[in-house]
């Protein structure tokens, strides 16, 4: 019986020694970038973390947004380079990414607006 996981176009995903060297260079660059971003995040967390800063102020809000932007940057590099989504067809890329861009916006909304509203509403009606 023919198996559909060994059809011919899978075989097409080969590359030469030379291309391999180029790809490894790119992988090395992304590795450095991910490590540096993680180090910056940890540094920021240690210096301006919620232990040292008023969690209701605007300073903490901007740090939070910076954390989220760095996370999305890291996620983007992992998805596009490590998971090779950048090399797939445009349609497949959009099918996977667009729902998640909407979802991240939703997560952002729940995190910052919805929960803050509930928090303030509870204080307003005196229910803890």
């Amino acid at each position: 019986m023919e198996r559909d996981d060994i059809i011919e176009y899978s075989l097409h995903a080969h590359h030469s020694e030379e291309e391999g060297r180029k790809i490894r260079k790119k992988i090395f660059f992304v590795t450095m970038l991910l490590s540096v971003i993680t180090a910056v995040e940890v540094g920021m967390g240690m210096i301006w973390g919620k232990a040292h800063i008023d969690v209701n102020g605007w300073g903490w809000m901007s740090i939070k947004i910076a954390f989220i932007l760095m996370t999305i940057l890291k996620a983007g590099y992992i998805i596009m380079i490590f998971m090779h989504l950048g090399d797939e067809r445009k349609t497949l890329r959009r099918i996977i990414l667009v729902p998640y861009l909407i979802f991240i916006a939703y997560l952002f909304f729940i995190l910052f607006f919805e929960s803050t509203y509930i928090h303030e509403f509870k204080a307003f009606i005196g229910w803890v």
Binding site: E2, R3, D4, D5, I6, I7, E8, Y9, S10, L11, H12, A13, H14, H15, S16, E17, G20, I23, R24, I27, T31, S35, T38, A39, E41, V42, G45, M46, G49, K50, A51, V55, N56, K64, F67, I68, T71, A75, I78, I79, I81, F82, M83, H84, D87, E88, R89, L92, I96, Y100, F103, Y106, L107, I110, L111, F112, E114, S115, T116, H119
Partner: protein, 241 residues
């Protein structure tokens, strides 16, 4: 790099439409579909965490005051241990992508080498997580250690301003979210390590060489990168924010 449907393929193995959708093989596309749905599960957890964490903003424990331990020392090093765990996972992700790259060159020796490193990285991550759970449950120097009444889940001693001498109770939800999110992620790491191990053994046995391509490495690679990706988000939303 991606599989392009440039060759004529036997009708029998093709999908109903006469060619593969998006020029991706069946297995790879199903892996993407699985990852999409799995990401929604994690997204649900993180949304719930974000909501609870911000609406209980006055009582929510401060992560840096809880996770500051390092094995073998009493130093106060907030976030360092979890940063180390993140780094281990990123590096094992890199060795995985190197294995995929070696697979594209049909370089069996390097596939085996990098896959072996990936398995080791995953195992080290799991060990680190076990240590972190143990430390979280038993508290600094084991002072909260009460396995009998399951202390950390039933009563969270990590309220705001808690110290080893004077533990303050905080919201139980904190420990629940910690165990649930890192536990669910950890079980993904465990299954990833097992999958990588299976593919490693089959690579050593020469299965994929006989098959003519290393796409299986690419597929488990997708899963492994996804595990890393989820940890990037857990790191931000649980530990940093």
């Amino acid at each position: 790099m991606a599989g392009e449907a440039t060759q004529v393929i036997d009708k029998q193995v093709l999908w109903g439409g006469g060619r593969s959708p998006f020029s991706v093989s069946y297995g790879k596309m199903m892996m993407w579909f699985f990852l999409i749905s799995d990401a929604l599960t994690f997204g649900g957890f993180l949304t719930a965490l974000g909501f609870q964490r911000h609406h209980l903003v006055d009582e929510w424990p401060i992560t840096e005051e809880i996770f500051y331990h390092l094995p073998g020392t009493h130093a106060h090093a907030p976030l360092v241990y979890v940063a180390l765990m993140t780094f281990i996972l990123i590096i094992s992700s890199v060795t995985m992508v190197l294995a995929v790259e070696a697979g594209h060159r049909m370089d069996k020796k390097n596939v085996v080498k990098w896959l072996a490193f990936t398995v080791v990285g995953g195992a080290v991550f799991l060990g680190s997580q076990a240590w972190e759970w143990y430390t979280f449950i038993s508290g600094p120097d084991g002072i909260f250690s009460t396995w009998e009444d399951n202390a950390t889940l039933a009563r969270n001693f990590y309220g705001i301003g808690t110290t080893p001498e004077n533990p303050v109770e905080g919201p139980q939800l904190y420990a629940n979210f910690f165990f649930f999110i890192t536990g669910f992620h950890g079980s993904h790491v465990l299954s990833g390590v097992i999958l990588n191990l299976v593919v490693l053994i089959r690579s050593i046995q020469g299965w994929y060489e006989k098959r003519g391509h290393y796409e299986m490495v690419e597929k488990v690679g997708l899963y492994w990168h996804f595990v890393d990706l989820v940890w990037v988000f857990v790191f931000t939303f649980f530990y940093l924010i």
